[in-house]
């Protein structure tokens, strides 16, 4: 499996290099769907130049990154493009091996449960085979590389880095903790996240006295109620999904991407890269058609309404934000659909595929 991965990486690097040098780069780097105040590369450059002048980067409310970014990019700012490409490639490789490990774990667990006769007799078609799981890591790496490279690589720091640094870090630690408890071998994904947690857990550095970035980041009381949504779901999900930490992580990342204060395309692409891992749930998804249509329509309407609002002056902000709301509703329904499909598959695995009620008639599974 190394050869296809290498091919994917080579192609991704080439496409990124080509895009960096094209006229698209400047254009995409100013689109509002791609760049937000949290993830704008221009702001990082501005903050670093302020630092060079001896001014705190956080004065002026332009720079919203953590001190870690300052330390990292202070020396790497000339090689920004290379750093982005390498980080994206590393993320893809890490995800590839992590998903491969995860697949092995899943398969082992499945075999164990089969031998222990925990599954109902007629669920043969729900059991996952190594054959169908063979290409999943490659697909995940592919999906991670390409949408990212079209959007995020040109305009902001690779999403994997700020997502773990800037976004609330606490909701991601329960799944990581649960995962480490369960498996003796450390999966790469877990390691990756753990490292990030350790590093960012430190308070702001000692050199720059007044660095309090998190306070600048939208802990304003008004946005608190929406922001709290990110934390609401952690504990109930942790309780429900305690045996499936990777799925929990996937749902948690999606929830973060939805309720984040400045969501961008990169965040959406991050959790969508994981869809191949849950491919086997496709048959249980109920509304995939409507939801795909909603998401595609909203994505296409973003630039149209932005144009009508800002440039043509015909529409106003209501139109644009209505579309962002609809997009979020679509995302929420998609995630809850996946959740439902996952739970349903678990139920079928233990209770059999063809359900009968007590009096022998057919039964239906209804979510209450």
């Amino acid at each position: 499996m190394a050869a296809p991965l290498v091919l994917v990486l080579v192609v991704a690097v080439t496409v990124r290099a080509a895009l960096f040098r094209s006229s698209l780069a400047e254009f995409i780097s100013e689109r509002v769907e791609v760049v937000s105040p949290l993830s704008s590369w221009k702001r990082v450059v501005e903050g670093l130049s302020l630092l060079d002048l001896g001014v705190s980067p956080y004065s002026g409310a332009v720079f919203h990154e953590t001190p870690l970014i300052i330390y990292l990019f202070h020396f790497l700012i000339d090689y920004a493009e290379l750093v982005f490409m390498i980080t994206d490639a590393l993320t893809a490789i890490a995800l590839y091996f992590a998903i491969q490990d995860f697949n092995k774990v899943v398969f082992k667990k499945q075999k164990l449960l089969l031998e222990l006769d925990q599954y109902a007799p007629d669920v043969a078609e729900l059991i996952r085979t190594p054959m169908e799981m063979r290409y999943i890591p490659l697909k995940v790496a592919l999906l991670q590389c390409f949408p990212q490279c079209y959007f995020s690589c040109l305009s902001d720091i690779p999403v994997s880095v700020p997502t773990h640094l800037v976004c609330p870090r606490t909701p991601l630690s329960p799944p990581a903790a649960v995962h480490t408890c369960e498996n003796e071998e450390q999966s790469l994904l877990d390691l990756f996240l753990g490292v990030c947690h350790d590093v960012c857990g430190k308070p702001s550095g000692n050199h720059l006295p007044l660095l309090l970035p998190s306070q600048l980041l939208g802990f304003h009381p008004r946005s608190l109620w929406l922001y709290i949504n990110v934390f609401f779901y952690t504990i109930p999900l942790a309780i429900k999904l305690k045996e499936h930490p990777i799925f929990f992580m996937f749902i948690q990342i999606a929830v973060i991407a939805i309720f984040k204060s400045y969501p961008t395309v990169g965040d959406v692409a991050l959790y969508m890269a994981f869809f191949p891992v849950w491919n086997h749930l496709y048959r249980f998804l109920r509304n995939i058609f409507v939801l795909t249509c909603i998401i595609i329509v909203c994505s296409l309407l973003f630039p149209v309404l932005w144009h009508l609002w800002i440039y043509a002056g015909s529409a106003n902000s209501n139109f644009f934000y209505a579309i962002t709301l609809t997009f979020n509703v679509g995302q929420i329904l998609l995630i809850s659909d996946y959740f439902y499909a996952f739970l349903r598959r678990e139920y079928y695995l233990t209770h059999g595929l063809y359900l009968t009620a007590k009096d022998g008639t057919e039964a239906m599974l209804v979510l209450k």
Partner: protein, 624 residues
């Protein structure tokens, strides 16, 4: 828990959609057309009203009395123009300076894309003359524009005369808070575009022009005047701008208010508006007006110089004086007073016009239909495509639905994802090919123009047309090959999946077009929706899917032509929406945008061939 999760209701809905699909589609289509036709009747059409408070009351007293002066200027202008054969620039400069304005000129030239019969590239060149009246009470932050487009013939002399007389009158007043620019352009739309581009420091049409020496501040509103006779019987107003953009309705209301105040007859499309909307005559005439407006808006051509101002977010109107056989005639003083009143009211504005509607339809001068009321017409038409797509999806997943409600006989055990995945993979090829065809249609004719004339003995215009025809003819091979590619896996499902994707794509495109230019979207939808919904393969030929895709392509091509390019001055990025959609294909869920040329704010622009006058020929070409 609602429709999305309750299996009983879902099954009922699915049965409903599958069984009643054809009647529902027909009903929806008829509802869309009927809604559009019903737009002229009173509940849907409302009287216009002034929304902007700053322009609410007409408490200005017009004092313009320079009718004689205007006529004198007009005669002088006409004489000088006849003598010089072109715009009498020196005379204009002298006169404007004598009136008290700051006068500047701008020369421009444009090579027309197709040479004339003698195989020479026709270069249109001219000079614009404009005078700035500086506001005595403010810094030059905002301005208004009064423009008279002068073609190569001898029309609009009275308009120039009135412009100069008004300038003289305005110069003597102390209440101006915005600068006023009096602009006389040569070669109609070409000159206006050259001036606007230079003013806003962009270059979207490839025009060569000298930079402007004097500027007056951000333009808030503009009025284009066309008068060719000493007396008029009515003032006609034109609103449709480039790419179907319309000025803010308040500007129209303003014009109407001052016409009514001065007792001046005002008309729309040359016709007086019906008074009585309760009986049937009024709405029928309104329907005629509405249809004509829809046709004009859909064509994307600006119906006056004002149309070019709109894409720079300057609200503008064109006023034309009509001299018909009516009894009562008005002289230049009446027109001048109306203009004076309008400018004084515009002077009161504290911010750009934003209160009233930007998107509307006019069944009559004093009636309008707002976007919230006319959009459902397009919505119903697109619903047909949605219903058809839903039906196709359900038919494709009938096997899957059997599994979802386990209880009946065990459903077929063929797992869905692999076959659906395989189906999707084989769909990508036809989609990419049609995208590529759309891109070729957009790019190749212009690119290949020069190459073709070098290698083949054709004229350039013929080269363009022949390239287009060649690409379309090549595209006719698409259905044949689609059939081969798509039906290898499962003959039935292949075309259904392709049609599903094509329908969704078409619905998306039509929706986006309808948002930016409603009339174009509506007209395209009325023709494309029935054909797309009804297209179905008969026998092994499967031509129809290719036809849908080719239609999607034509559609995409049309949209690519008619899309905006913005001016630079707002410092924002420009994009051509669909052009990029054509070549990006179905890659990601987000729309890709393509920078075209200058960075500027995309208000509206087009690759469309607009029209402007030329000396030797009666046809006009303007590439944006």
């Amino acid at each position: 828990m609602g429709l999305l999760s309750d299996p009983v209701r879902r099954r009922a809905l699915a049965r409903l959609v599958l069984r009643l699909n054809a009647p529902l589609c027909v009903l929806s289509y008829v509802a869309g057309i009927a809604w559009f036709l019903a737009l002229v009747f009173p509940p849907l059409t409302q009287r216009t009203y002034m929304s902007e408070n700053a322009m609410g009351s007409t408490m200005v007293e017009e004092q313009f009395a320079g009718g004689d002066r205007a006529r004198a200027f007009a005669r002088d202008f006409a004489a000088h123009r006849k003598k010089s054969g072109a715009l009498p620039v020196a005379w204009l400069e002298r006169t404007m300076r004598s009136v008290g304005l700051e006068v500047y000129t701008q020369s421009f030239s444009r090579k027309l894309p197709f040479p004339d019969e003698t195989h020479e590239r026709y270069m249109v060149s001219g000079t614009n003359v404009y005078g700035i009246l500086r506001a005595p009470r403010a810094a030059s932050t905002e301005s208004l524009v009064l423009t008279v487009p002068c073609g190569s013939d001898s029309t609009n002399s009275q308009a120039v005369g009135l412009l100069l007389a008004l300038a003289a009158h305005f110069r003597g007043q102390i209440y101006w808070a915005k600068d006023i620019v009096f602009l006389v352009t040569e070669h109609d739309l070409l000159g206006t575009e050259a001036w606007l581009e230079a003013y806003h420091d962009v270059n979207v049409t490839g025009m060569q022009s000298s930079p402007l020496q004097g500027r007056a501040g951000a333009i808030q509103a503009a009025v284009a005047l066309e008068l060719s006779s000493d007396v008029v019987t009515s003032l006609d107003v034109a609103v449709e701008g480039l790419n179907g953009q319309l000025p803010n309705l308040d500007l129209l209301n303003l014009f109407q208010t001052f016409c009514q105040k001065g007792g001046l007859l005002c008309t729309l499309q040359g016709k007086l508006q019906p008074e009585d909307w309760t009986s049937l005559d009024g709405p029928l005439q309104g329907l005629q007006t509405l249809l004509l407006m829809v046709l004009r808006q859909a064509s994307g051509r600006p119906h006056g110089s004002h149309g070019l101002f709109l894409r720079y977010r300057v609200e503008a109107l064109t006023l034309r004086g009509i001299n018909s056989f009516r009894q009562y005639k008005y002289d230049l003083v009446a027109v001048g007073k109306a203009l004076e009143g309008m400018f004084r009211k515009l002077n009161h504005l504290l911010e750009r016009l934003h209160q009233s509607f930007f998107l509307y339809l006019l069944p009559g001068l004093s009636r309008f239909v707002s976007i919230g009321l006319y959009m459902p017409a397009v919505g119903f038409l697109l619903l047909v495509l949605g219903l058809k797509a839903l039906e196709l999806w359900m038919q494709l997943h009938e096997a899957g639905m059997g599994l979802e409600e386990p209880g009946g006989a065990p459903g077929p055990s063929v797992p869905l994802p692999p076959s659906q995945g395989v189906g999707l993979a084989s769909l990508v090829a036809p989609l990419l090919i049609s995208q590529a065809m759309g891109l070729a249609l957009y790019v190749l004719p212009v690119l290949g123009q020069h190459v073709a004339t070098q290698h083949f003995p054709v004229a350039e215009a013929e080269a363009v047309v022949l390239t287009l025809l060649a690409i379309y003819a090549a595209g006719l091979a698409l259905p044949h090959n689609t059939h081969r590619v798509v039906s290898t896996q499962a003959p039935d499902r292949g075309w259904m999946a392709l049609k599903l994707v094509a329908l969704i794509y078409l619905a998306l495109q039509l929706g986006c077009i309808a948002l930016t230019n409603f009339s174009l979207g509506f007209l395209l939808a009325t023709t494309m929706v029935p054909t797309a919904a009804l297209a179905k393969p008969h026998g092994p030929r499967l031509e129809c899917n290719g036809a849908i895709l080719a239609r999607c392509n034509l559609h995409l091509q049309v949209q690519a032509i008619l899309l905006p390019q913005p001016p630079k001055y707002l410092g924002l990025q420009s994009f051509v929406l669909v052009a990029r959609l054509e070549c990006s294909g179905v890659i990601s869920a987000h729309c890709k945008l393509r920078l075209l040329g200058s960075s500027a704010s995309p208000a509206s622009a087009s690759g469309v061939a607009g029209i402007t006058s030329m000396r030797h020929h009666t046809w006009l070409i303007l590439y944006f």
